[in-house]
Amino acid sequence: MEHGNHLTEKEERKAYLILADGTVYQGKGFGAAGTTMGEVVFTTGMTGYQETLTDPSYYGQIVTQTFPLIGNYGVNEFDSESKKSWVKGYIVREWCEEPSNFRCGKTIDQYLKEQNVIGIYDIDTRALTKKTREHGVMNGAITTELPGDMDAFLQELKAYTIRDAVKSVSCTDQRFHQADQQQLHVALYDYGSKENILRSLLERGCSVTVVPYNTSVEEILKINPDGIMLSNGPGDPSENTEPIAILKELMNAEIPIFGICLGHQLLALANGADTQKLKYGHRGANQPVVDTVRGRVFITSQNHGYAVVGETLNQEIGFVSHHNANDGSCEGITYHNGRAFTVQFHPEACAGPLDTKYLFDTFIGLMKQQ
């Protein structure tokens, strides 16, 4: 038969998702081939998979997309949140072979192959999500070959932990970014910063010096910034003893501080509060957050597995300014010194709603006041 359109279905190779509790899901492989281990988490965002794949906060994690159709608009050269993909693996129900969008550069399969990310599809992602929800986050592995010795494999899987996350994703050298019409200068601590934090500052007339996570107070002061931005980042916040020590010191400098996500957690730790691991975290673009000062709820983008325990914050130092409307967890702190405020969610969005980007303006206001 003469035919202009492809009639053959896509090639398939078997792949397996193995969870630390021994559950094995059979699916099909895409992206890179091989074996990978990580912490299995899920995100409920329905768009923004490219931002997810390139968000350094996912370091060490295997990401499950709850939305079943992934890769619909392909991968483009504009929307990455960092230079590479940091996920340890990628789980979807279906990926799109024929993406469609004017900016589409390649398919998600091509991108994952380039990034050497092992993916698995044709998985009942809803069943997996429910399991994660009930059990809490669990380690898992994606492999194209079932292990010969499953017990040994599971031992290894259970032992897997994310270590030195921030160190692994942070930049190693300072880098200056000039704003078109510079009004202010911000030092951005890169704990695994998403590009859009930088973009959000630049488009508001802030030149930015991105600095490594362990940059000392001395060095920061040398830059003479108008404000300090603490970025998002991966892993267990309490592990980061060096940055926490630095932040303790910085609290005393007369410089405004704005923290996002991990930055929020680290500043809280520096001020004596505790953090805890959430059962399965908040990952998605639909998290409602109550701003107690404004008396309003905002829909936010989130990606975190740990949270500040609001009750442990010394009330003389600061107060919980935001909380999650669903589970009440701490989503933001304003410090009484009038210079520092932090949020757990992502006002820089990408992916997700832009409803809280005004926080960048608040930060700029603070800097101008100083």
Partner: protein, 1064 residues
């Protein structure tokens, strides 16, 4: 903020009769609203003219007025009831417009009544073109640039400014005559000059052409604290140019990257905040597929068809939340009933994809223009949920009841590839099937995209289905291949046909829950859709929520279409309620997103699925019900009977065999003979030749129809051989499984009866008499309860026959019987052992809960124990008149001549102490102007009607009208002493009928003709013209007489009392 303390009594305005563009979605919204307000302890007063709705049930509100939705009526009710507030945003455009008028006239202020949800300023900003544009510009949101010009140079200059292509819309020409799309200066010169010439005021609108852009919608909710969320995004498969109600729509949007998505989401939020809506709002955008450019198309500051769809697509009850907001609550105070744990202030996350598919009436209006554009033509819609687009799409085409199991349309198979490519240019109801066929013929995806502008994403997905068809047709049907096909939505039957093999091991569907949160939180919603995964959440749910009660499945009625409307949803909902009350677990299966029955808190479990045998099998497999109910879901559910019986499923109520006995002509004839009940003579035929022969034997006129139909689908009265031939040609174009029935046509009084029967006893709540004589479909007739002209003897005969038939057929539950009274004798025309469209209204006016009783009887109860007696109920103090409502202005080329084929889309009720007043109210509610606007009436009737038209014309003359008539009619009238002026046919020399219509002097047209339907026929064209000029067109002498009698009462609504039906 909690409930406002200045709100105690709220007036809720419904949307009136079902018409194209305003359907059951407002019953769904209104019902949610009434329940919500009552739950908050508020007193609710409801006004809606539509008796077929759940919202007008006596238990839904404290006061229920089934009265015309007009200003005088609302004013009167406000004065009687003295509500402190009105909720204007729940009853579609009708309620919004009326509320605005009340506010603008200062009436609300005078009466101290508040508008909730939206202020007049808000509504104006969204509805008034200029204010809307100004508002958008003030917040920097782009509108489609346009300019009104009166000369061609201005047009050209503006086009230069905004860029080609542009759309030219001449002012005040009908249906956009003279407009068009200009892609160049040369074209604009031609189209523009033509348009200026055709416009009576020499004015055209030049507008940037965005047809072919993506059409994206957002449903948004905002509260008084400015908390704003988007419930759902939707993407139209058909790009800008096709009305969203006529588009195939997916949710969520799939071809947008996060950047485009957030851009439009933010725009929606900016708009609703600028408007200041407190409640639900819908924003429609056109998005350039090649860059980030977009424009706002439309904003609706109220709940809408899209919000109903978004509610069902996400599980987020928009109307409920919007009404809570209207009475003072904020989003963070309203519990999300789906999870029971989280609040309404969040955005639903979907882990499936939804496809909405419109249901068009073109199977009824075979000659209507099928082209889709800015005027919506669909009467209803279906929704399908899947984990793949392909699966959802395949389910959707099964839901629309075109007898399709895939996207293959038989009639396209024989067309050559050139024709198929040609057809791609036609944007009509079948285009998606043409795209599918084009792919099969090897027409490239790019070519299809270039022609249709349907995003390649969708075309590629359709191509995946074709790939699977190809795979299935090759080689062995392995279990793996079979499973992949199931995941793409193929039925076993299709797989077997394509592969020539049986599946190695049959798979039943498993079910996933719709939970608003993509499984992030545990949910309690009993709302399911099928997939082909291992985990079956419905089964888990059943195990976890085991009640020990017997389970009964109620099959719903699918999409709203002419002949099967909202009435059947009303019946399904009542059946569910009755089952629950009787201690059963009630499960509903349906696929219509507009309805109350698919609200997830109506039943114990809801399956949003197609109603085909295989789809139903999987549900049976999971549920293992004790019994099923088919008698309330119209023909959609009845069609499943045979299949269910063969599977050994317990059908509650009337047995499959009895249903067959009523539908099978030969069995039915024998039964009537046995009961000694006469029916009009009738025969059967499979071929044109046989039909002509049989018709001749019976003697014309005869009634032709296929067996097994609802709503008189494809039914005609043939007055001669040519009619029979024309009809048989259409009917035999598709394969005839069942014969065509040919009956002697008796032009007598038509009478209808709904009865509940238990095998021994029967109960008739009331006998209904039609104003129009037999020949006009019962659904299109004005129906009166109680009957006005029947002698006691005839009534007794009807009751007697009903009892005999019910017993003989062994009906258990509901039966609807239609009789014709001809020359003093009662004949049976039709027996339907199921619910009917008169059930809702007759339940309300007689106070007999018909569905409730029928359900109990079907479960084994006896009428004598149910407290409503037996035989025929005594008549009440009120006369109720059901008047049909049509959507003809929206359907080009459809003939509006009433006949045996049903054409109305909805109905209204007039209710009062006497017939005249009730009829008057009914006619007003149906939209007839009951006072003189112009000064004349046009009459043109067929010869056989001429004697009767004389007294009719005299009535119009008595009322003060001048009579215009076509030559034959005029002469006849003059001969019989009625003055009339001759007018030529519409294409004859002046004065012709078109001239009359254009001047606006004609208020009514009375037109009957022997031949009809074809758009080329003179009388059809004349009637179409009248409809387009919004002139009431009466095609039955009986309707015209009723109307003339009402006119002669010379009353206005001010003269009448308002009836609270809760009290009757």
């Amino acid at each position: 903020m909690p409930l406002r303390n200045d709100i105690k009594k709220v007036l809720v305005i419904g949307s009136g009769p079902i018409i194209i563009g305003q359907a059951a979605e407002f019953d769904y919204a209104g019902t949610q609203v009434c329940r919500t307000l009552k739950a908050d302890g508020l007193e609710v007063v409801l006004v809606n003219s539509n008796p077929a709705t759940i919202m007008t049930d006596k238990t839904m509100a404290d006061k229920v007025y089934i009265e015309p939705l007009t200003l005088p009526v609302l004013k009167k009710i406000i004065k009687i009831e003295k509500p402190d507030s009105i909720l204007p945003t729940m009853g579609g455009q009708t309620a919004l417009t009326l509320s605005m008028q009340l506010a603008k006239e200062g009436f609300l202020k005078e009466q101290n009544v508040k508008l909730l949800g939206a202020t007049p300023e808000t509504i104006d900003k969204a509805e008034d073109r200029q204010l809307f544009k100004d508002m958008l510009e003030s917040i920097g949101e782009p509108v489609i640039p346009s300019k009104v010009v009166t000369d061609i140079d201005d047009a050209l200059a503006f086009a230069e400014e905004i860029g080609y292509p542009v759309i030219v819309r001449p002012a005040y020409t009908l249906g956009g005559t003279g407009g068009g799309i200009a892609s160049s200066k040369k074209q604009l010169l031609r189209i523009g000059e033509n348009g200026l010439r055709l416009s009576p005021i020499n004015q055209i609108l030049v507008e940037r052409c965005v047809s072919g852009w993506k059409e994206i919608e957002f449903e948004i909710i905002r509260d008084s604290r400015n908390n704003t969320i988007t419930v759902c995004s939707m993407e139209n498969v058909d790009p800008v140019g096709v009305h969203t109600g006529d588009s195939i729509v997916v949710a969520p949007a799939v071809t947008l990257s996060d950047k485009e998505y957030q851009m439009l989401r933010t725009a929606s939020i900016n708009i609703i905040q600028a408007l200041g809506v407190e409640g639900g709002c819908n924003c429609q955008f056109a998005l350039n597929p090649d860059n980030f450019e977009y424009a706002v198309i439309e904003v609706n500051p109220r709940v809408s068809r899209s919000s109903a769809l978004a509610s069902k697509a996400t599980g987020y009850p928009i109307a409920k939340v919007a009404s809570k907001i209207a009475i003072g609550y904020t989003l963070d105070e309203i519990i999300n009933t789906v999870t029971g744990k989280t609040y309404a202030c969040f955005e639903p996350a979907l882990d499936y994809i939804v496809v909405k598919f419109p249901k068009w009436p073109f199977d009824k209006f075979v000659y209507a223009k099928r082209t889709l554009g800015t005027q919506m033509k669909a009467t209803g819609e279906v929704m399908a949920i899947g984990t793949t687009f392909e699966q959802a799409m395949m389910k959707a085409v099964r839901c629309i009841e075109l007898n399709l199991d895939s996207l293959n349309l038989k009639k396209l198979k024989e067309k050559d590839p050139d024709t198929i490519e040609e057809l791609l240019h036609h944007c009509d109801d079948e285009r998606i099937f043409v795209v599918y066929e084009a792919l099969k013929r090897g027409i490239s995806i790019d070519t299809i995209f270039e022609i249709t502008k349907i995003d390649r994403w969708f075309i590629n997905k359709l191509n995946n289905l074709i790939k699977m068809e190809h795979t299935l047709s090759q080689g062995e049907l392995t279990q793996d291949k079979y499973k992949r096909a199931k995941k793409l939505g193929f039925l076993d039957k299709t797989i077997t046909t394509l592969s020539g093999q049986q599946p190695p091991q049959k798979l039943y569907a498993s079910y996933k829950m719709v939970d608003t949160c993509a499984a992030e939180f545990a949910a309690e919603t009993p709302y399911f859709y099928s997939t082909y995964d291992e985990e079956n959440e419905a089964r888990e749910f059943i195990e976890q929520h085991s009640t020990g009660k017997k389970k009964v499945i109620v099959f719903g009625s699918g999409p709203i279409r002419i002949g099967q409307g909202i009435e059947f949803d009303y019946c399904s909902v009542h059946c569910v309620t009755a089952l629950k009350e009787a201690g059963y677990e009630a499960i509903i299966v349906n696929n219509n997103p507009e309805t109350v029955s698919t609200d997830f808190d109506i039943s114990d479990r809801l399956y949003f699925e197609p109603l085909t045998p295989e789809d139903v099998d999987s549900i049976l497999e999971t549920e293992q019900p004790w019994g099923v109910v088919v008698q309330f879901g119209g023909q959609t559910a009845i069609k499943l009977t045979k299949h269910l019986k063969n599977k050994g499923i317990k059908i509650l109520g009337t047995s499959a065999d009895s249903i067959d006995a009523a539908e099978d002509r030969e069995r039915f004839d024998k039964l009537l003979e046995h009961c000694n009940i006469p029916r009009p003579n009738g025969r059967m035929a499979y071929t044109t030749e046989a039909a002509v022969k049989e018709a001749q034997k019976l003697g014309y006129p005869v009634l032709l129809r296929p067996s097994y139909v609802l709503g008189g689908q494809n039914m005609i009265i043939a007055h001669g051989k040519n009619d029979v031939i024309e009809y048989m040609d259409i009917i035999t174009a598709t394969e005839l499984e069942n014969p065509v029935l040919i009956d002697k046509y008796l032009m007598g009084t038509e009478v209808e009866v709904d009865a509940v029967c238990d095998g021994d006893d029967f109960l008739i709540p009331g006998i209904m008499e039609h104003i129009e004589r037999a020949g006009v479909h019962s659904g299109d007739s004005i129906s009166i309860y109680p009957p006005q002209t029947l002698t006691q003897e005839i009534r007794d005969t009807i009751v007697e026959y009903t009892g005999r038939l019910a017993k003989e057929l062994n009906v258990s539950g509901l039966v609807n019987i239609q009789y014709v009274i001809y020359q003093g004798q009662v004949y049976v025309i039709e027996v339907n052992p199921r619910s009917s469209r008169t059930v809702p209204y007759i339940s309300k006016v007689t106070n007999v809960p018909i569905v409730d009783l029928a359900t109990k009887v079907a479960l084994g109860a006896k009428l004598k124990d149910l407290g409503y007696g037996s035989g025929v109920c005594p008549e009440g103090d009120y006369v109720a008149v059901k008047v049909p409502v049509f959507s003809f202005p929206k359907l080009h080329d459809a003939d509006n001549h009433l006949g045996p084929e049903m054409k109305s889309t909805g109905e209204v009720l007039g209710i009062d102490h006497d017939l005249e007043t009730a009829l008057y109210k009914g006619l007003i509610a149906a939209g007839y102007e009951m006072h003189k606007v112009g000064d004349s009436v046009l009459i043109t009737v067929k010869d056989s009607d001429k004697p009767e038209v004389v007294p009719l014309a005299q009535k119009f003359v008595d009322f003060g009208y001048k009579i215009w008539a076509t030559k034959g009619t005029a002469e006849y009238l003059r001969e019989h002493g009625v003055p009339s002026e001759i007018v030529n046919k519409h294409d004859g020399p002046s004065p012709n009928t078109s001239d009359l219509f254009d001047t606006g002097e004609v208020d009514f047209v009375v037109s009957t003709s022997t031949i009809g339907r074809k758009p080329a026929v003179h009388s059809v064209q004349m009637r179409r013209k009248a409809i387009e000029r919004n002139i009431a067109c009466l095609t039955s002498i009986d309707t015209a007489n009723a109307l003339a009698n009402s006119l002669l009462m010379r009353k206005t609504l001010e003269d009448f009392n308002m009836v609270d039906i809760v009290k009757i």
